[in-house]
């Protein structure tokens, strides 16, 4: 074989090989193309599946989230609010609204939340209200009465034929979700959630189905909450009844309080009787004095001109009847009578404020003067063997009822007296402690046994003989102090005495 033909052969072979190589490459490229478009389609499919999976995920999230939250809500309104908000976020492109369809086919309690994707739709709330005003409530009501299920409405078909001639709604679809209904004398009010869609593009049947699926949970939760609310209402009624009972009881106590007042009045009568007694005897004495003076001075009336003799007789008579003394004593008697009358006037004054007791209006009062008034009322009771020591330092007013507090103090004083059969002393102090006005009433009596201490505020608890105590004093005092937001504390030592420590808020 020649060198040339060998080279020729080689070249030929290479050419063949190259051709095959090219063919293979083309084939490969074709393959790649097919492969690429295959990949593309697969990718498309994958994306779609991913999207579906995401949608399903979102739906699931919506359902589970809604269910979880729904059961946590405190009230029906809260359940509905939460539902509306969640649905709106889930639907994204829908306006979420809620209203009641009344038996007169009117819409009531309309509530509107804009779509989550608001930038896409700019609607005035008033436009929506116009839409609702045009809604054919009659048709809707009829259809819901027949079947209270979720409904997708083509809004143009649901416009009131009497109104809707010219009006064209901004929204094309409404998805109605019946959530509750209240029937009354065969008249039904429907509670409806209503999701408004601008057009078909924003409608997603899968989403609406999810909304529909969530409905049962909601209905269940709402009816459960309604039951709860009813129970709460019954409870409130019971509480009201209980309150009335308590008030009645209070009134009973008040009338008992009047009975114990009766006992007090004996003391008060004595207190008044005393000055009346001596003013009367003063007047009697004055009467005697006056007739003596008259007998002396009578000649002055008969003789127009007194001669020396007459003058002498007159002087003698004056001496006889102790005219100087009469004049001097008359002055004293008059002063004492005026004192007596003042006392009576004071007591009446105190009684008057006592009678204002049931007038619960609180006013700024000086606790010291309240205590003084109370002391005046019981002065007679403490006249013998009892020493009253007062030390009034409190110089700020409190908010209180003078009459009611007097009653409290009177009872404390009388209790103290009863605890000190053979006599003793009552120390009354008032002072300021930060924002408080403190009052201490301390006796040197028997003290209170521990088992009694627990009960002394209980109405009708008394250790006293019949006729001496009703056991209402501290009970009433306690409720009065409560109305004054005042605290009461007791320090007691058997055989040593007892201190009642009251603490009021200052009024500034």
């Amino acid at each position: 074989m020649s060198q040339q033909s060998n080279e020729q052969e080689q070249l030929e072979a290479l050419k063949h090989i190259l051709d095959r190589e090219r063919a293979a490459r083309k084939e490969a490229e074709q393959k790649i193309e097919v492969f690429a478009s295959d990949i593309y389609e697969k990718n498309q499919l994958l994306q779609e599946q991913t999207h579906q999976a995401q949608e399903r995920q979102k739906q699931l999230e919506f359902l589970t989230g809604l269910a979880a939250e729904t059961w946590q809500q405190a009230s029906m309104t809260a359940i509905l609010d939460n539902y509306l908000d969640r649905s709106r976020n889930f639907l994204q492109f829908a306006f979420a609204t809620m209203f009641e369809l009344k038996p007169d086919y009117q819409l009531d309690r309309v509530q509107i939340l804009p779509a989550a994707e608001t930038q896409l739709m700019q609607f005035e709330e008033s436009e929506l209200r116009t839409l609702f005003n045009h809604l054919d409530g009659f048709r809707l009501s009829m259809e819901l009465t027949e079947q209270a299920e979720c409904k997708l409405l083509n809004l143009e078909e649901y416009l009131d034929p009497q109104l809707g001639k010219t009006y064209r709604p901004e929204f094309q679809f409404a998805y109605i979700v019946p959530l509750y209904q209240n029937s009354h004398n065969r008249q039904t009010t429907f509670g409806l959630a209503c999701f408004l869609f601008e057009d078909e593009a924003n409608l997603d049947i899968g989403q609406l189905q999810t909304i529909e699926s969530s409905r049962n949970t909601l209905i269940l939760a709402l009816s459960r909450k309604q039951n709860e609310t009813n129970q709460a209402k019954q409870l409130a009624e019971l509480e009201q009844a209980h309150q009335t009972l308590k008030q009645t009881q209070q009134q009973l106590i008040d009338s008992e309080k009047l009975a114990s007042l009766g006992m007090l009045s004996a003391g008060v009568a004595h207190e008044i009787n005393n000055p009346v007694g001596y003013v009367m005897s003063n007047i009697d004495t004055m009467h005697d004095y006056l007739s003596s003076l008259q007998s002396v001075l009578k000649p002055l009336n008969e003789n127009e001109q007194l001669d020396d003799a007459a003058c002498r007789t007159l002087m003698a008579k004056w001496q006889d009847e102790e005219g100087d003394y009469l004049l001097e004593d008359s002055q004293k008697i008059l002063n004492s009578s005026i004192d007596g009358l003042h006392r009576i006037r004071d007591i009446v004054e105190a009684l008057r404020s006592f009678s204002r007791m049931d007038n619960h209006e609180l006013e700024a009062i000086d606790v010291n003067s309240t205590i003084e008034h109370a002391l005046k009322m019981v002065k007679n009771e403490l006249k013998y063997n009892y020493q009253v020591i007062t030390d009034f330092q409190a110089d700020k007013p409190i908010m209180g009822s003078d009459g009611q507090l007097q009653q409290v103090f009177i009872n404390l004083f009388i209790n103290a007296k009863h605890a000190m059969k053979g006599g003793g002393s009552i120390t009354i102090k008032t002072w300021i402690d930060k924002a408080r006005v403190k009052v201490s009433v301390k006796d040197t009596g028997t003290g209170i046994k521990e088992e009694d201490l627990k009960q002394i505020f209980t109405p009708f608890f008394t250790t006293k003989k019949q006729g001496e105590g009703t056991g209402l004093g501290l009970a009433i005092s306690y409720s009065i102090l409560q109305q004054h937001h005042a605290k009461i504390e007791i320090n007691t030592q058997l055989g040593e005495g007892t201190e009642f420590l009251l603490s009021f808020f200052t009024f500034e």
């Binding site: 030929e12 072979a13 090989i17 095959r20 293979a24 490969a28 393959k31």
Partner: protein, 180 residues
């Protein structure tokens, strides 16, 4: 058989015997593929047999020797495709076990349409191991070559012999490997 194998065969022939030999083979044999092989495509098994037989005849070489030496050179092309674990095998013996357990398993995952042999192992003596080869393609000599290639790769010395062979009427081939 994958196109790559044909491509490697072509390369092998071209390098050891020249372009004309390969071109003659393709031009003479009326193959369905017309000698156009795309690496990832599968081609009829008979094509490789026909090529091997024709080439052996042309080059005046015994067929087993030709296939064996092709296998030897093929190994270095296959090895880069092997799974990482196989590449890190600590020695030849371990690697050979991996052919059945790992390498061909992974190959099958990648290409569903490949035809692979079945290997069983007799491995009881430290110096010897038997790989029992079963395949309708009867490419036991290819295996021998591949094993020799692998031995080179692991820098080990082996002697290979077949105590049983499908080409001698046995139902499988016993490839005896002696580690030197």
């Amino acid at each position: 058989m994958k196109g790559t194998v044909f491509n490697h065969l072509q390369e092998f022939v071209e390098q050891s015997h020249g372009y004309t030999v390969w071109d003659q083979a393709i031009s003479t044999l009326d193959l369905p593929s017309k000698g156009i092989y795309v690496g990832t495509q599968s081609y009829d098994d008979t094509e490789i047999t026909m090529l091997a037989v024709y080439l052996a005849e042309q080059l005046n070489a015994p067929l087993p020797d030709l296939i064996r030496s092709f296998g030897y050179s093929l190994f270095s092309h296959l090895m880069p495709m092997a799974p990482e674990q196989a590449k890190q095998a600590k020695d030849l013996r371990t690697f050979l076990h991996m052919v059945e357990k790992i390498i061909h398993v992974e190959v099958l995952k990648l290409y569903q349409d490949v035809n692979l042999p079945k290997f069983d192992y007799i491995d009881e003596e430290s110096k010897y191991m038997t790989m029992i080869y079963r395949s309708p393609r009867k490419l036991c000599f290819l295996s021998e070559g591949l094993i020799l290639g692998a031995a080179d790769h692991f820098k080990e010395q082996v002697k290979i012999d077949q105590s049983k062979c499908m080409h001698k009427g046995d139902d499988c081939c016993h490839i005896e490997i002696e580690f030197l």
